[in-house]
């Protein structure tokens, strides 16, 4: 009978071990069994946990939550819409707006606005809650604080900061482009200045090349040859003029030569002093020749007469020199001839100087024409300058458009505060509540674990021998 009972108990034990429903169900049943047998221990632990949880809940200050509502204006790009142009892009999608709220940048600025810059970002993130529905453009932002006033202020400051940051993001894309375009424009300006300097140098170096306009007829150096032809023509004309001036000067000189004796004669005839001296001299010299012809060397007044004739000869000569000198200017005919000669000389000298200048220019131009790169270089510089000017104008137009787009992005398509926080509600789950729940959960876990550990650590009725040895009686049977 004992053997039968042992078999029966073994079957019962096997039945108890064999999974009835599933392994998980069996383990749950075993767990509950252990907790039930050790319910006093588990209950004690759980009671301690409840007390601790209540203490945590009651000693924690309440929290207040305020909500500010934000609206994402101009929501075109969340879903493809053929009516919306592709250029109408948004810097941030609606689904990403809650993430924007909890970014480090926004939270740092928010902490600064709150006047608590030392508050850690994790603490701020735990106080902020933002969630948006994909079908909606409205996003509530909740901020939890120790007082209702602080919660309202925090919610409004945070919503303002999000609005500000969103606009920064919207215009920041254009800022980079504007910066790049400005740098390119500066480069183009420098290039234009360089080209202008090169053209100015070319204008000084090649003055006969038009550095502003294109070459006539598209022929390189065409204006140079035109200038050369003009100079040749001018030189020929000047040479003719010089020759005419030379002829005029010759005739004027001949006129002066012809007018001079006549002028002297007129002067002598009109000069009474000269006439008197000349008559006296003529008479004295006749007398002297007469005396000398008669051989009257022994005449006592002969020597004196000779001296007189010599003095008179000198005086007549002096008067003649006087008449042929400055006194001739007073003669109108001679003066006119002389003036004509002087003007002809001056005209000749001026025309010869012009001719020399033209000849010098011709030589210089011929030398420059000999250097064939002059016009080519100038043309190349001009083309580069025109190209740089065109590129500069394109960049300037693009910069203007970008600045306009930036202003548009900063004003439209932004996030606005739809409804600022007015009041705060007491938060249902404060940190104390959560701490209490955590303590309770921990106590429950400790209670279950402790019950299982204690239960498993004890001797168990696993087989017939363990029962029969304890009670000293046979096992009658095991019930199913």
């Amino acid at each position: 009978m004992a053997k039968e009972n042992r078999t029966a108990l073994a079957n019962a034990a096997a039945h108890s071990i064999r999974p009835v429903a599933s392994a998980r169900t069996q383990s749950v049943i075993g767990l509950a069994t252990a907790v039930w047998y050790q319910r006093r221990v588990a209950g004690l632990i759980l009671a301690c946990g409840i007390v601790a949880a209540l203490f945590a809940v009651l000693t924690t200050h309440p929290k207040y939550t305020a909500t500010a509502t934000m609206l994402m204006v101009a929501e075109p790009m969340d879903a493809p819409n053929p009516k919306i142009p592709e250029s109408a892009t948004k810097p941030v999608l609606s689904a990403d707006l809650p993430s924007l709220v909890t970014t480090a940048t926004v939270l740092k600025r928010f902490a600064r606005d709150l006047g608590a810059p030392t508050t850690t970002l994790d603490v701020l993130r735990s106080r902020v809650h933002a969630k948006i529905n994909l079908d909606s453009s409205v996003m509530p932002i909740q901020y939890t604080a120790a007082s209702a006033k602080e919660a309202v202020r925090g919610a409004n400051l945070l919503s303002d900061e999000v609005t500000r940051f969103y606009r920064e993001i919207a215009v920041k894309r254009f800022d980079s482009l504007i910066k790049d375009l400005t740098a390119q424009l500066a480069t183009r300006r420098a290039e234009l200045a360089q080209r202008d300097g090169e053209l100015a140098s070319a204008a000084k170096l090649y003055p006969y090349i038009d550095v502003r306009n294109s070459d006539s007829g598209g022929e390189i150096g065409g204006s140079v040859y035109q200038r050369l032809i003009a100079l040749h023509t001018e030189r020929d004309e000047l040479q003719a003029v010089v020759r005419a001036d030379q002829a005029t000067l010759l005739s004027s000189s001949a006129l002066v030569l012809n007018a001079r004796p006549l002028a002297i004669r007129d002067f002598i005839q009109s000069d009474t002093v000269y006439q008197h001296l000349h008559d006296q001299y003529t008479q004295d010299i006749v007398n002297l020749q007469h005396l000398e012809s008669f051989g009257s060397d022994q005449y006592p007044g002969l020597a004196e007469l000779r001296d007189t004739v010599a003095r008179e000869a000198k005086a007549v000569a002096a008067e003649q020199r006087k008449a042929s000198g400055s006194e001739l200017a007073s003669n109108p005919a001679y003066s006119a001839a002389l003036d004509s000669q002087v003007r002809a000389g001056a005209q000749l000298a001026g025309d010869q100087a012009k001719s020399a200048t033209v000849n010098a220019e011709l030589e210089k131009l011929n030398e420059q024409i000999g250097n064939g790169n002059a016009a080519t270089n100038t043309s190349r510089i001009r083309r580069d300058r025109d190209s740089a000017q065109a590129a500069y104008e394109v960049l300037a137009a693009r910069l203007s458009q970008t600045i306009a787009d930036r202003a548009e992005a900063g004003s439209t398509g932004s996030v606005v505060v739809l409804d600022p926080a007015q009041s705060a509600q007491k938060a249902p789950f404060t940190s104390g509540t959560l701490l209490g729940i955590s303590i309770l959960a921990f106590a429950l876990w400790v209670a279950i674990t402790g019950a299982v550990v204690i239960e498993n650590g004890q001797e168990r009725f696993r087989d017939a021998e363990s029962i029969e040895s304890l009670y000293g009686a046979p096992l009658l049977g095991a019930l199913a």
Binding site: I29, L470, A473, P474, A480
Partner: protein, 178 residues
Amino acid sequence: MKSLATIWSIIEASRSMPAMILVTSATPDDDAIGVAQGLVNASKNAGHCTGFLALGGAFDAHAPAASLALPDESSCAGFDELLHTWRATYDVIIVEIPQLLTHNLGAHVARTADGVIVAVRTNRSVQLADRELSALLKQLGAALLGVVATPPVVIGIVGDALTRSLRARRSFPVPAAS
């Protein structure tokens, strides 16, 4: 596994058929009430006139008609008087005490009973109450017939506990001799 009918047959096959059997356990979770009621049914099915006396306050309304529950405050004299009356009436009297160690009449009933059956949950830990119950039965010189292992169904444990708790709140008058 055996049914309680088989176990009853084993008991009947013993040398002397006990007229009063105490079904008890060390802890209230070992389902002594279930074993007792099963034995009552098996006895009745075997043709015995069986009376069922529940001393733990746990009383199943679906138990056999000749059943009575006595509150814990019952005195030994009252029990003896009732037992005397029932012995004249029934062939077999099955008394159920869910936790012998804590019941006022536990030791008296164990000493008086012709046989004692202990119910034990399979696979549960051996507790101090088990050792004390074993020692008490030996000390009293009780006629321990054997042990019945009950299945380790936790739902059954909880259900039984709740049922007992509800029944304990009921008050039953001390039965008069019928």
